[in-house]
């Protein structure tokens, strides 16, 4: 029985190796075919979260508002006035920062849990695993829409005029979604290999939070420092997305070209890296 050539039998019958990772092009095509799965999963999750707490969806906007209130209260008093732009009211400046940062931090943490938190699905059905982090990002985009509307209302209430440049927020958010998806894909795979990553994510998020100038202006704080420090700070894509939205919504001084270039490059590069990095381990996600 041992001398049977099983490989030859399989070849003659035209069978394929089970679980073999599809080439990247076919893999992405398969994901496109099953996009309805990712979208429905995202929608159902939001609907389920409606019932979990009394305020349901309200928390999506309440959380960042309360966060902004806390930061405003604490840092508005502690930090000197010259750390934030003179011609822009502090509250709109802070609200835009907190709301846009929330989009990043939620995508990052939810993306990291997208495989390990859905083991029931991963173990019972075979589908391209990339659909799970993709569905998490779709969910974040759904939740971003009410957040952006509330952000706009708050900003208008503080006397910022509505201008055509507000429309530019949409392409900026599309770029940021690409960036967030890339980050989520990388975090999802790392979490599968090393569970300890979940412990480090809040710390990294905190670091990026302080480095992105949410409640102070990096440009003003670093004005007296050597110029390379500001350049390094502007290499942080999260800061750049926030700076772009602030300049579109609140106006203010013209942004250095580095911010726009960095936002464009980071979104494309991170997304491509994330897709390739996640796809490479496709065969390994079902492992216990």
């Amino acid at each position: 029985m041992t001398d049977i050539n099983y490989g030859a039998i399989a070849r003659d019958a035209g069978l394929h190796r089970v679980g073999a990772r599809a080439p990247l092009g076919r893999y992405l095509a398969e994901i496109w075919q099953r996009r309805a799965f990712a979208a429905s999963l995202a929608r159902y999750r939001i609907q389920a979260s409606l019932h979990e707490s009394r305020l349901g969806l309200g928390w999506i906007v309440l959380r960042p508002i309360l966060m902004a209130a806390v930061y405003g209260l604490i840092f508005g008093i502690i930090l000197p006035r010259d750390t934030r732009p003179e011609d822009v009211a502090f509250v709109p400046f802070l609200v835009v920062g907190v709301f846009i940062f929330e989009f990043f931090s939620k995508s990052f943490s939810a993306g990291a849990r997208s495989i390990t938190g859905n083991m029931g699905l991963v173990r019972s059905l075979s589908f391209p695993r990339m659909l799970l982090p993709v569905s998490q990002i779709i969910q974040q985009v759904f939740e971003l829409v009410p957040m952006l509307i509330v952000m706009g209302v708050i900003v208008l209430c503080f006397g910022i005029p509505l201008t055509w440049s507000w429309l530019l927020v949409i392409p900026a958010m599309m770029l940021m979604t690409m960036f967030n998806l890339g980050v989520a894909l990388i975090a999802a795979r790392l979490t599968v290999h090393i569970r300890d990553v979940t412990q480090v994510i809040p710390i990294i998020t905190r670091l990026i939070f302080y480095a992105s100038g949410i409640f102070y202006s990096l440009e003003l704080v670093l004005a007296d420092q050597p110029p390379w420090m500001l350049t390094v700070a502007q290499l942080n894509p999260v800061h750049d997305f926030i700076a772009l939205v602030r300049s579109f919504v609140l106006g203010g001084p013209e942004l250095p070209p580095l911010v726009t270039i960095m936002a464009l490059t980071a979104s494309v590069v991170t997304l491509v890296l994330g897709i390739v990095f996640f796809w490479k381990a496709e065969e390994r996600y079902g492992r216990d």
């Binding site: 049977i4 099953r34 159902y44 059905l125």
Partner: protein
Amino acid sequence: MDVTESDLGAPVVVVDGLEVDYKSFASGKRANDRRSLLTRQRGVRVVNALKGVSFVAREGESIGVIGHNGSGKSTLMRAIAGLTPASRGRVFAASRPALLGVNAALIPDLTGEKNVMLGGLALGHTKAEIEERYEDIVAFAGLEEFMDLPMKTYSSGMQARLRFSIAVSRKHQILLVDEALAVGDKAFRNKSEARIRELRGQAGTVFLVSHSMKSILDTCSRVIWIDHGNLKMDGDPREVVSAYQAEQ
């Protein structure tokens, strides 16, 4: 292997020298053991769940898989489904096999209705196809009045019924059933065994893991006995089952 090739269908699944190792952190150490975090790799223990299993499954066969607990039956099913990667050896199949196991609900927080939709979409159905088959799926599971409840409120039998109904809603060329029917009640078991025979009739290949020798003898045309990760016997259901029962 004295059967002639001509009276058998074409090979559908070929398992070639399949070995699966699980790496696990052994915890069988003394409680006062003072290992530092950095040396924890020493505690790694490799468990050989499968130690070189080979066979060919053909079109229209329904194959029972038997063996004691921990013999490697479920590992074999998961490896054929491509959910557990092989350490050595290979598994070939004509199409992606679908595995029905005893694992938890698909998404426990969502209602049965939404789980049917998501399960179908993940299997590659379109929304319209699922809506068309929805009634049949629910009726087969016999859960009409519970579809609006979250799946976490279902009993394990109800969960297994719904998962089975979702999986058989699509025609699978290769279906792996891993004790998924054991938790169902008698009426459902009869219904699903009939469905398995029907699938087999449509030139599908079914693997059935079970501890119930009665359902194995009722549904299978061939039985594989896995013992401590090795293929101990492979052949006619009556012969293999009686040899297995004689050993116990």
